[in-house]
């Protein structure tokens, strides 16, 4: 059994209440940080822990915090990104729903480290019921003196608000989130300036994912060095993985960084293997935005060593042979799954979610979706595959925010690794269609 730092007490029935949470060791980091540590000492522990942002990009959290502009006397803000809308990712939801106080404790300690007087949790609008759970927990924290003026008599004051989004994936991008929080249209900003210099209301701002902020609690409790002992290389600590697709036990798992992909998929502690005695065909290891990996690249790195659940190992070899850990949305496809259909489904999502600000993403995502739809529904041409490749290439890297890249990568990877499936759709449209997107035997033989 791997160590659990975040979900250890998730099965305790009263863990969602203040008393239950405290009984199981909650709010210790609050006292420790506010009473015995300086804000900079907290940041120092986070740096030592090697924690990397859990929202997708994996940027070292301690380093991000140290970029916060402390030279002005403007207010500073900490924003928790709870917009979790990436297809395949549902870990923040579990954490907030079951253990809301863990996030709140993390928010208070992190805000203290950053010197914020007001902080926000920006939550996706579809999580309205969780917003209520968080608000109740926040009210409990105010009643207990953990929030508000002069927390625990230390002289530190903090207000914490929850703000719902209105159903846009793009508002998970940090600068779009800031715009949305300011009451504007959720268009990503053009960077620089970065939020750490000019973010919410033009003030220095840090945006962190729910899981990143929750991880600050064990880091402060046990020390950054202790946290860094878990994991391998620059991937330290534990990570929540949202596992879904063709596996026996879908769900959210807290893993120690560094277990092998094979163990994660096949061991009974985690996914429990593929149902119906089928073989695995491919896997998207980090949420819909990251490249899909075919079976032959999934378990082994290009040097033949086992592929591990770490930032480095999953991205080994760049996009030619690797992918990304991303937000930890782990989607498994068995041998009967249709890669074209899945790629079309992802493309449909990005088409729907583009904010429409910049031309390549606004026009390119819709175009890719239509071409993929044609191929999937038996109206494709061979040239369409090259056309798709060309469109994605012209979106990638040329947009304001990474949503353009996120739309391009899955298409590129599907063509890179599963071109034969696209060709099969073009050649035998009726067969693909008749079999309800399940492949014929000769298809399987063609699979490299």
């Amino acid at each position: 059994m791997g160590r659990k730092l975040l979900l250890e007490h998730i099965d305790k029935p009263d863990i969602n209440t203040m008393e239950g949470y405290i009984r199981h060791g909650g709010y210790r980091s609050l006292e420790k940080a506010l009473k015995t540590m300086t804000p900079d000492a907290v940041t120092e522990e986070v740096k030592k822990s090697g924690l990397r942002g859990r929202g997708g990009a994996g940027f070292p959290t301690g380093m991000k915090w140290s970029f916060l502009d402390k030279s002005t006397d403007k207010p500073r803000y900490l924003l928790c990104n709870a917009d979790e809308s990436e297809p395949g990712t549902f870990k923040d939801r579990l954490l907030m729903e079951k253990i809301p106080h863990l996030l709140i404790e993390g928010m208070i300690v992190s805000s203290y480290a950053l010197g914020c007087r007001t902080s926000y949790i920006y939550i996706r609008g579809e999580y309205m019921f969780i917003l209520r759970i968080l608000e109740k927990a926040i009210a409990e924290a105010y009643a207990k003196g953990f929030l508000g003026n002069n927390i625990l008599g230390t002289g530190y004051s903090l207000d914490l608000h929850v703000h719902p989004g209105a159903g846009a994936y793009i508002c998970g991008e940090e600068t779009a989130l800031i715009e949305s929080l300011e009451g504007k249209r959720g268009n990503p900003r053009i960077k620089p300036p970065f939020p750490a210099i000019a973010g919410l209301y033009n003030c220095p701002t840090i945006v962190n994912n729910v899981e990143s902020i929750a991880a600050v609690v064990p880091i402060v409790n046990d020390g950054g060095e202790e946290y860094a002992k878990i994991g391998i290389g620059k991937s330290t600590g534990t990570k929540l993985i949202s596992a879904s697709g063709n596996i026996n036990k879908p769900g959210v798992y807290e893993i120690e960084m560094g277990i092998s992909v094979e163990e994660f998929i096949y061991s009974d502690e985690y996914c429990g293997g593929i149902p119906n005695g089928l073989d695995i065909k491919a896997c998207v290891p980090g949420g819909s935005s990251v490249p899909i990996l075919p079976k032959q690249l999934l378990f082994k790195q290009s040097d033949g060593s086992p592929r591990l659940m770490t930032y480095e190992s999953l991205s080994e070899g760049g996009f030619a042979t690797g992918s990304m850990l991303g937000s930890g949305g782990f989607i498994v496809f068995d041998e009967k799954a249709c890669i074209v259909r899945n790629t079309w489904n992802f493309a449909r999502f990005y088409h729907h979610e583009s904010c429409g600000q910049c031309s390549p993403c606004r026009e390119g995502t819709g175009w890719m979706e239509r071409v993929l739809h044609n191929i999937e529904y038996g109206h494709g041409k061979m040239e369409d595959i090259d056309l798709l490749w060309d469109i994605q290439r012209k979106i990638e890297g040329n947009t304001i925010c990474p949503l353009g890249d996120a739309a391009a990568w899955p298409v590129a990877a599907a063509i890179r690794h599963f071109r034969h499936e696209f060709e099969y759709h073009v050649k035998y449209p009726h067969r693909v269609f008749d079999a309800d997107h399940v492949y014929q035997p000769e298809m399987k033989m063609q699979t490299v």
Partner: protein, 316 residues
């Protein structure tokens, strides 16, 4: 002052100048701009046609930038080296962007009032493919009249956001402009309510395409059959410095004066634009500066009206 080298030409510019502005100062190989407008705060960064490659970040940090950058929103650094037309990667990406801008464009230039002074048209001549690879139905919208003088033809809009910035920055009320998101975003009817404003007509001038057109000029003439003359009047609201577009002795439309980059030299009010269409309202200064290569410059030096016979003789 930082020194920047663009396509092997070095120039010194004040700190904070963007790559695009520096290129404009050099004057050759200037990246095109569809959304950036130097007179509108916060404009730029959206259309991506001005992408350039930064091969050296600065003297202090010589690393190249990993991606192409929007030259209209990237400030120069001392020692920066930039490639625009000398980079095949940039040309390729720009072609891609132009294709994206055209996939949903109606290409109705033959019946569009903007033809002849349309930036998208120029851009497609320079960078576009001669045929479209897009095989699907293009998105369409109903045409709407935003007020009695301006028509919005959303089909042609490239969502550069300039008109919303005009509404925000030149008119006193806060008016916001874009509804919905992604491919179906559209300039919103909120603007319809803003047209009462004296400065609203400037939206027509900043629109790079034929999405916002002057209803008083609609279908009257192709722009290259009209003759632009600079003129001014004593206007209490604006600078009163305009271009009159003549056909024969008749003023077909009034616009602000455009600089070399197609930007308005000074915004004008709606009274000057829509209500002063008689030669006697104006003091004529002479023929407008029009780029020699523009279709508009044909017959440029002819006088806009017949001179009395005796004067004709004198001038011979």
């Amino acid at each position: 002052m930082p020194k920047v080298t663009i396509d092997d030409i070095t120039i010194e510019v004040p700190a904070g100048t963007t790559i695009l502005e520096a290129a404009r100062q050099i004057g050759v190989n200037v990246p095109p701009a569809m959304c950036y407008y130097s007179k509108l705060k916060g404009s730029g960064g959206k259309c991506r046609v001005c992408l350039v490659k930064v091969t050296k970040g600065s003297d202090r940090d010589p690393r190249p930038m990993p991606k192409l950058v929007a030259s209209c929103r990237t400030a120069v650094m001392d020692g920066m080296e930039v490639r625009n037309v000398t980079s095949p990667e940039v040309i390729e990406a720009r072609r891609g962007v132009v294709e994206f801008l055209l996939v949903n464009h109606p290409l109705d230039c033959p019946i569009c009032d903007q033809a002849g002074e349309c930036h998208l048209q120029d851009l497609s001549y320079d960078h576009g493919l001669s045929k479209s690879r897009y095989e699907f139905e293009r998105r369409t919208f109903e045409r709407i009249d935003i007020g009695d003088k301006i028509q919005l033809h959303m089909n042609r809009c490239i969502l550069c956001y300039r008109c919303t910035q005009v509404a925000e920055q030149l008119t006193p009320e806060r008016v916001h402009g874009v509804l919905y998101r992604g491919e179906v975003s559209e300039i919103s009817t909120f603007i319809e309510q803003a047209v009462d404003n004296e400065m609203s007509g400037n939206m027509i001038d900043v629109c790079p395409v034929g999405a916002l057109t002057d209803k008083t000029f609609r279908f009257k003439s192709r722009v290259w059959f009209t003759k632009p003359m600079y003129a001014h009047r004593d206007c209490p609201t604006c600078s009163g410095k305009v271009t009159l577009w003549y056909q024969g002795a008749e003023v077909l439309r009034v616009t602000s004066r455009k600089d070399k980059w197609g930007e308005s030299e000074g915004f004008i009010c709606n009274t000057c634009r829509f209500d002063k269409k008689q030669t006697i309202d104006w003091t004529i200064e002479g023929p407008a500066d029009v780029d020699r290569h523009s279709v508009i410059s044909q017959n440029h030096y002819e006088l806009p009206y017949e001179l009395p016979v005796n004067q004709k003789k004198l001038s011979n």
